[in-house]
């Protein structure tokens, strides 16, 4: 376990002497860390603050009074009164020798080349013919830790011949390249993957001089189950692992801390820029949320999403049969004219929950005040099942990502953190590494369920009830859970009681709930018990939901009117649901960062305001600024209003287009429409207005978590039903998180499609075999009289008797998914459906007998669906 983690709680301050200087340090840290805290440099290449001591590079040797030989600073525990010398002649000689050995295995001409000082200068010579001067064989040149160590240790020549491994650089997997010729085998990536991420994709292969890093058994990273979180790339001290997209950008010339725009966790990111453009992204070491960790989207998808050549960056208007680029003024005039020409209730405005707070506020203000319509809707509504009041109550609970990592007892329900909410998974694992007990409630064999000490495995669709029973057991300490409550879930009361017992001793309790749980029957009950548990000290509850700023949309009344007007206000309103089902026919549809349709809806004028053109015909397109091009704030799950920095400030023009922040587009439209209440000069002015209207909302970016005031009464809460009947399969809809505004990121970011996470039906291979469906074969899903056929993928992680349907709440880039429209129309709540092989009429029953022949799972007959580990 990392010494850092050990020292996090209740550490005493001690002092020791390093190089004759007193240094104070917390109990439990290594000598290396103590020296670092005291500002004393000890060279090291394999140690990392978050990883266990490795002792592979042998550079951090020191002399300690009373200890034999040269102990390693990284693996020696710092103790009170120790006397350490870090820079003696003997140590220097040994380090130089070892460094020479490292360099003999690492093509290092750039480090010791005689010409290295003049090399840079002569590269800029202007010649007629293309001449390449200077070796450019490492993408990490100038950012390499090895270079720094060589500099500081002072090696100027290598007296050993270079051993070149002569391997081919690996380019096959998405997102990052690997050139193991320059690997120094420090093992940081291997430990990061195993210890922090819990994935263990990377390993040391072979032995002796043939030792190499990579997935075991010659698999590629996708096959080995890589999450592509990029944590390995971030800790690589050399250029062995490098982002594909920014590999040859060279040393970044700027770095800005900002907020990831892709999900509700609001991870802090370091944006590295080169020549005014985003080059690559790394997790910020901010300890409040992500502590250096990110997921595949935050780590790798940002540059491509904003810089993609398909980005539409100029305003466009349909003129007859042509769709043409026009200037802003013309576009806005046309849009304003059209909006003016229809009655207020004939306009529908759909606003994505991925917009900034400023954009969201301006959008609803524009609709409500300038256009005078209540017809504001959002696909983000689907992300908050149960409605605004239900989630306001959840947001009134104590939510803290940091507290998850420090909890003693953790419950995680319905969450597979490999690709969605990865950082939440990392925090859970951090807690487990520190000794917390973990209980998982999950019908799927998720990555966290596999890491849990107790895994309660209910049938699909009954997870909320089981989780509520666990929470109730914790609330009513000692009281045995009522087995009646979880009778139809397949979980035995004994297993439940055992899980509760394992959790009970913890003083700090964290409950992390995946978005799927809130769709299930019993969610209202779950909220009640969560609320009573939350009154206890040291409890944190993390109810996860999709969308980057869905909480902001809720707070700023985009999803529904102000609380005072909520009751009854929704009746008679034009909604997206209404348009999709054909019941409502607004004349003008204004899509802000949304593309909720597969084809152009039946109306007179469609306005799209987004980063990319929607996949259907629109009449006006207003190019919005991306997360890199505008400054703004996002509200994360904890209620922090976090700043998203403007990274790129590129001049308007043919090359960089003419994009505008959302709020600014609304402000200018309002101006065109003659409304004066939206005369905002900058985003700050919008924030000031937000603060005036919603006093609980900060007027400037404020990273303090906020708890909302729970609404009184239970009005507005929709009861959720379990799947009806006992026959058929349970269809569980799962929102896929790879959405940003109106697009599916998979369609834009090339690497994401390689991960084979494309939507579709996933089923237990055993069920598929029983139904006679081949892998990738078509399945007919019959629900409510409609039948859709789609490909099914065997997924051993899925429970028996259920089919999981993953879908993105945006049709951007999804024209090939047209046929799935009926399934998109369904809510995500679990349903009973009939499944059959496409083309045959026979449908077979599936439910009732889950987990047949599954590895890890114990047969439901003898032990219930409970798997205990540890």
């Amino acid at each position: 376990m990392s010494t850092e983690l050990l020292s996090a709680k209740g550490a005493r301050a001690l002092t020791m002497e390093i190089d004759h200087r007193p240094v104070s340090f917390p109990e439990g840290v290594s000598v290396l860390r103590a020296a670092e805290l005291g500002g004393i440099y000890i060279p090291s290449l394999c140690s990392h603050k978050e990883l266990s001591a490795f002792g592979g590079c042998r550079l951090c040797t020191v002399e300690i009074e009373g200890m034999r030989g040269y102990p390693l600073a990284c693996s020696t525990l710092a103790q009170e009164g120790m006397k350490v010398l870090t820079d003696t002649v003997a140590l220097r000689e040994m380090r130089q020798e070892i460094l020479q050995l490292i360099l003999s295995e690492h093509p290092s001409s750039c480090l010791v080349c005689e010409e290295r000082d003049d090399c840079r200068r002569s590269q800029y010579t202007i010649r007629k013919a293309g001449v390449s001067t200077g070796c450019r064989n490492c993408p990490n040149d100038g950012q390499c830790e090895l270079q720094e160590v060589v500099e500081r240790v002072g090696v100027t020549a290598v007296s050993y011949p270079v051993i070149y491994r002569g391997l081919e650089a690996e380019h096959d997997d998405p997102f990052f390249d690997r050139d193991y010729n320059i690997c120094i085998l420090c093992g940081r990536c291997v430990r990061m993957c195993a210890e922090v991420r819990g994935t263990s994709v990377l390993a040391f292969n072979h032995r002796g001089p043939r030792t190499l890093i990579g997935p075991a058994f010659g698999r590629n990273h996708v096959e080995a189950g890589c999450e592509f979180c990029g944590a390995c790339v971030s800790v690589c001290p050399t250029g062995t692992l490098a982002d594909k997209s920014s590999k040859w950008d060279g040393k970044p010339d700027g770095c800005v801390t900002s907020t990831c725009p892709f999900c509700s966790l609001g991870c802090q990111v370091e944006m590295f820029t080169k020549d005014g453009r985003l080059s690559r992204v790394a997790g910020s070491l901010d300890s409040e949320i992500n502590d250096g960790q990110l997921c595949v989207r935050g780590r790798f998808c940002m540059p491509e999403t904003s810089h993609h050549h398909d980005r539409a960056k100029k305003p466009m208007l349909r003129k007859g049969k042509y769709f043409r680029e026009v200037d802003w003024d013309e576009a806005l005039t046309e849009v304003a004219t059209r909006l003016k020409g229809v009655a207020a209730d004939e306009v529908l405005m759909a606003v994505s929950g991925d917009l900034t707070n400023e954009g969201l506020f301006a959008a609803q203000q524009f609709a409500r005040e300038c256009l005078g319509t209540e017809n504001v809707d959002s696909t983000a509504r689907a992300y908050l099942p149960g409605g605004a009041d239900f989630w306001t109550r959840l947001f009134a609970l104590p939510i803290s990502m940091k507290a998850v990592a420090q909890a003693d007892s953790v419950v995680v329900a319905g969450l597979d953190s490999r690709f969605y909410f990865s950082v939440a998974g990392v925090q859970v694992r951090r807690a487990v590494r520190r000794g917390a007990s973990l209980v998982a409630v999950d019908s799927c064999e998720s990555n966290l369920a596999c890491a849990a000490h107790h895994w309660l495995r209910p049938h699909a669709g009954t997870e909320a009830k089981v989780l509520a029973a666990v929470v109730r057991g914790l609330v009513e300490e000692g009281a045995s859970a009522d087995p009646e409550l979880i009778r139809d879930s397949g979980v035995k009361g004994v297993a439940l009681a055992e899980a509760v017992r394992a959790l009970a001793p913890g003083t700090d309790l964290a409950i992390v709930i995946g978005p799927r749980i809130f769709e299930c029957e019993g969610a209202n009950d779950l909220l009640t018990v969560l609320t009573s548990l939350a009154s206890r000290e040291g409890v944190t509850i993390v109810p996860l939901f999709h969308g980057a700023n869905t909480r902001g949309a809720l707070e700023l009344c985009v999803l529904s009117g102000p609380p005072s007007e909520r009751s009854g206000a929704s009746t008679g309103r034009v909604s997206l649901e209404g348009v999709r089902s054909g019941l409502a026919k607004p004349k003008v549809i204004y899509l802000v960062g949304e593309s909720p349709f597969f084809e152009r809806p039946d109306c007179e004028f469609v306005i799209a305001q987004d980063l990319y053109l929607p996949p259907f015909e629109v009449d006006a397109f207003l190019p919005a600024a991306s997360f890199l091009e505008t400054e703004g704030t996002l509200t994360n799950i904890e209620g922090r209003v976090q700043r998203m920095e403007r990274i790129e400030d590129l001049p308007d023009g043919v090359v960089h287009g003419r994009v505008r922040p959302d709020w600014s587009i609304f402000a200018r439209l309002a101006e065109k429409l003659g409304y004066s209440g939206m005369d905002y000069a900058d985003a700050g002015a919008v924030r000031a207005e937000i603060h005036r209207r919603f006093p609980g909302f900060p007027s400037a970016p404020d990273r303090a978590p906020r708890r909302l005031a729970p609404p009184s009464g239970l009005a507005g809460e929709k009861p959720r039903h379990g799947p009806d009947g006992a026959k058929g399969f349970v269809l569980v809809g799962e929102h896929a998180g790879f959405r940003h505004r109106g697009i599916d990121l998979t369609a834009v970011v090339e690497g994401l499609s390689d991960l084979k996470l494309e939507e579709g039906l996933r089923m237990n291979p055993h069920d598929m075999e029983e139904l006679g469906i081949a892998a990738g074969g078509l399945v007919e899903v019959s629900v409510d009289g409609t039948t859709v056929s789609l490909a099914a993928r065997p997924d051993p992680e899925c429970p028996g008797g259920a089919a999981f349907f993953f879908h993105v709440e945006a049709s951007g880039g999804l024209s090939h998914r047209h046929s799935l429209r009926p399934l998109y129309g369904l809510n995500a709540r679990p349903l009973r459906v009939q499944l059959s092989v496409a083309g045959s009429a026979s449908t077979r029953r599936g439910g009732g007998r889950p987990q047949r022949g599954r590895k890890n799972a114990v047969s439901s007959e003898d032990e219930g669906n409970h798997v205990s580990r540890g």
Binding site: A53, F54, G55, G56, C57, R58, T61, G69, Y70, L72, S75, M94, E97, I98, L101, I102, S104, E105, S159, Y160, P161, I163, I184, L185, G187, A203, F204, H206, R207, G208, P209, R210, T211
Partner: protein, 629 residues
């Protein structure tokens, strides 16, 4: 089973054992250890059984382990009623008929290939087996049962005092057993020689709900086979030792980590464990005491580094066999983070003897600091190779010349401690074999490999061989071991190929010291020993490779040319027959000619020539110095 019922069983076993000694039928013992099998004991056994079958003779055949003189294998003992057991060496299937016919049909003692008998004094002109020069100077404590008993028959072990020591330990408090081990002066036989009791005490005194005991049988040194022979010949001694150790340190679970390349030893262990289980010597409440213990066999996949204790633990945990930094030492936090003791096979097999006969008896053997006996595998260019057990303090000269019978050619060096040890020259022949003296000489005791080198072996080549082994077996974790050993090999390669420079000697020494001083585990810390020690004692040979481009031992191929000394050649044609390229021609009885252009320096002619006619002695090649590489 409790102590009383074990006692009953022991009495039965004793009467069975006596019955075997005084058997009315002839008894034939055959050494079926891996060395015997390799020498053809399987065929001999088939021939014996065939003979008995066709003649319709009644005799008992007992398969025993290796008794030590491996160069004499296959060894077969024949015991006639009323006569002592007589041992025969180098038995071939063809001889079986003659030998058995003489014994069983004519009642005469067969006189050819006889080694000795297991009785008192001379018998019918046959000397005692233990008076054989190879055995006379040995003190067999650990090996006392090897080659004598049937390793698959627990009764044989019981009859010879087996599990008595365990009984005694279980009736004592743990600290008294620890005291016995302390007073015996027993030190770890795996190589480092750490006092066994100290390690145990640390483990026992570390608070934990569980402790583990691991028997390290991952014997990987080239030329070492002490542990294999011991397990094959007397598995119960090791397992009883494990029970004693486990009851003392309070372990509940034991592992035998053994190389998968030792299938016979694994089979013997498995059958021994099954027999123990039957007798209640494993499992809950062993012999009616509170002691609960079980043993699992874990087969290693063949990585040398897994003999290092932290790598071994990682391997048992299912991880890559990779050492970690210490502290914490395994005795404090080992397998699955629990206090763990890892003892060598020999250390464990010594324990029952110490407990049974008392620490004072044991500590009478050996020197002041190194008590007791040590097994060695004596191999290389000695006349008598095999497994020996001698008290500490015996000199190398006694071991090599008295036990080993000396060399055929001139002695050059002895490599102790395998790839981690060093090459010691003639001046060290009178060095007593113990931990301190070997360390002082720049080598180590190691697990007990003794490789004797004569003048036909090149020291540089030997150092290169061991370095090649360690660099290939390095786990690759730490830089000095992974990269440093590779550079050592590169430099040695260059020297052997005639590309050496005088500065190379300096480079080897500097690099060797750096690797020794900065490697993570024992493998790297000792890997340069063969080079450093041979540089120290055989610097001249290195220099002659580098400066004169000459290999005295005529081993380094790039430095020698083969030519026939006409005066000595008798024209016997033997070299003509073995030459694979037809480089040697010549009529019978006339000096042959060797065509250098066809010669691939395979050394076959050199080895076969009886008349020293082919001079492998390096011929100086003047042009080599200017060769560009």
């Amino acid at each position: 089973m409790n102590a009383a019922s074990l006692e009953r069983r022991r009495r039965q076993a004793e009467s069975r054992w006596k019955g075997l000694q005084a058997s009315p039928d002839p008894v034939i013992y055959i050494g079926m250890g891996a060395c015997g099998l390799a020498a053809g004991a399987g065929d001999v056994l088939a021939a014996i059984e065939g003979f008995l079958g066709t003649r319709g003779l009644k005799a008992r055949v007992v398969k025993v382990g290796c008794i030590g003189p491996c160069y004499l294998e296959p060894l077969v003992d024949v015991q006639m009623p009323g006569r002592p057991r007589i041992c025969y060496s180098n038995v071939t299937p063809e001889q079986v008929e003659q030998m058995l016919a003489s014994f069983l049909e004519r009642g005469e003692v067969f006189k050819r290939h006889v080694v000795g008998h297991f009785g008192e004094g001379d018998f019918d002109g046959v000397p005692s087996f233990y008076d054989h020069p190879m055995l006379k100077a040995q003190v067999r404590i650990v090996l006392k049962n090897c080659g004598i008993i049937d390793p698959e028959d627990i009764d044989h072990y019981l009859a010879r005092g087996g599990y008595l020591a365990l009984e005694r330990c279980l009736s004592m408090p743990w600290n008294e057993v620890l005291d016995i081990v302390m007073r015996s002066g027993l030190r770890g036989r795996g190589g480092a020689g750490f006092p066994t009791w100290k390690k145990w005490q640390v483990c026992r005194e570390t608070a934990s709900d569980e402790r583990y005991l691991i028997c390290n049988a991952d014997e990987g040194d080239p030329g070492a086979f002490m542990n294999r022979s011991l397990i094959e010949g007397d598995p119960h001694a090791v397992l009883e030792g494990m029970l004693i150790a486990a009851s003392t340190i309070g372990a509940t679970k034991g592992y035998v980590y053994i190389r998968a390349e030792y299938p016979l030893a694994i089979a013997r262990l498995k059958s021994a464990l099954a027999a123990m289980r039957k007798l209640g010597l494993l499992g809950d409440r062993i012999l009616g005491s509170d002691f609960c213990f079980d043993i699992t066999i874990k087969e290693g996949a063949g990585a040398f580094v897994c003999g290092e204790e932290t790598a071994l633990i990682a391997s048992i945990e299912g991880k890559r066999g990779m050492p970690r930094t210490r502290p914490p030492f395994p005795a404090v936090a080992g397998l699955r983070g629990k206090p763990t003791i890892i003892n060598n096979v020999e250390t464990l097999a010594t324990l029952p003897n110490i407990v049974a006969r008392g620490p004072e008896w044991y500590s009478q053997f050996g020197t002041e600091t190194s008590k007791g006996t040590k097994t060695f595998s004596l191999v290389g260019k000695v006349r008598r190779t095999g497994l020996i057990e001698v008290p500490f303090g015996m000199t190398l000269r006694q071991v090599i010349y008295q036990i080993g019978g000396g060399l055929l050619k001139e002695f050059k060096a002895v490599q102790t401690g395998g790839p981690s040890g060093g090459c010691l020259g003639e001046e060290f022949l009178d060095t007593p074999l113990d931990y301190e003296n070997l360390a002082k000489a720049g080598s180590i005791m190691g697990s007990g490999g003794l490789i004797v080198i004569d003048r036909n072996t090149c020291i540089v080549d030997t150092a290169k061989y061991f370095l090649n082994f360690t660099q290939a077996e390095s786990c690759g974790k730490c830089v000095p071991c992974r990269v440093g050993t590779r550079h050592l090999v590169n430099i040695l390669d260059g020297i052997c190929a005639g590309r050496g420079e005088v500065e190379d000697i300096d480079r080897l020494e500097r690099l060797g010291r750096a690797i020794k001083g900065s490697s993570l585990c024992g493998l790297g810390q000792t890997a340069p020993n063969p080079v450093l020690s041979s540089l120290k004692y055989f610097r001249g040979e290195f220099l002659s490779h580098i400066v004169e481009k000459r290999c005295q031992a005529a081993v380094c191929r790039d430095l020698v040319v083969y030519r026939i000394i006409k005066e000595k050649c008798t024209g016997c044609q033997r070299c003509v027959q073995v030459c694979p390229t037809g480089a040697i021609v010549g009529p019978r009885s006339e000096p042959h000619n060797l065509d250098e252009s066809k010669c691939i320096k395979c050394r076959s002619c050199y080895e076969i020539c009886r008349f020293d006619a082919i001079a492998g002695d390096a011929i100086v090649i003047e042009s080599r110095g200017q060769r560009e590489y």
